[in-house]
Amino acid sequence: MFNYLANPSRFLKVSGYALPVLAPLTAAVFLYAYYLALVVAPPDYQQGETVRIMFVHVPASALALGVYVFMAIAHILGFVLRHPLADAAARAAAPIGAVFTVISLITGALWGKPMWGTYWVWDARITSMFILLLLYLGYMAVWKAVDEPHRAAKIAGIVAIVGVINVPIIKFSVEWWNTLHQPASLLRPGGAAIAPEILTPLLWCMGAFALLFATLLLINLRAEVVARRVRQMELARVGSVA
């Protein structure tokens, strides 16, 4: 299937059939997941209703990291297999991942205020997430800065792959730094094992976010494919005038 979709026209056709199925499915799973999260799930005995922020925060954080890894893998496939859609897929994924990162940071801050008494602590995970946002911004800036798509794809791929090598190093270094400056002990969310009545809605919410990513990626990737066709037509028109 992977190679079958390498032809952009064929990709447009197949994704044109997939999207009308995927989009309503995403909407349905979203509604059910957040019905579970907001109505069915019981409040936490320690955190009260505040625990419900977790149903947004955890999926957004997981996907934020996952999308960056997805981008790096897509670029590696682009380098190795020269799959024509791989680089475009990574580009289409970037803004989605960046928004997930912002959601993760904001909901994390709003969860931290009632739980820890402050919006922001320089905790290893929070700091790494913030750096991930910087990596997303740099990656998108590269696509904007380079005009020619082939070249932009290569350069952006280098940036994404170097970034993904660095994510664990950054995580490790921030953890080291954090243990040196350990602040007063915090009430950590997710410290204890998660009860099944919380875990089930959480898994549904993660599924909903993953489906949302797939849907948005597909729409964005289709637009990317059409954009390249438009670019070629414009170039051809300029060429025929000259």
Partner: protein, 67 residues
């Protein structure tokens, strides 16, 4: 859920901000796709050729794929 619980305003703000950001993202993605498709239709209506005609130098296969 209990809408009068302590700190419940943080829950509402978090869900509100997340929903707002997701809607903005969705609108951005849809509008971008629509704009690009309109541009393609306009070019097709003007009868622009799909790609450069291979006149003197044949176009490399790699360049034809919108990779």
């Amino acid at each position: 859920m209990d809408v009068h619980a302590k700190h419940v305003e943080f829950v509402f703000t978090a869900y509100g901000v997340a929903a707002l950001l997701l809607v903005v993202l969705l609108v951005y993605v849809l509008v971008r796709a629509r704009l690009i498709r309109n541009r393609l239709r306009m070019l097709e209506r003007e009868g622009a050729p799909r790609r450069r005609r291979p006149s003197a130098a044949p176009v490399k296969a790699e360049d034809e794929l919108p990779a």
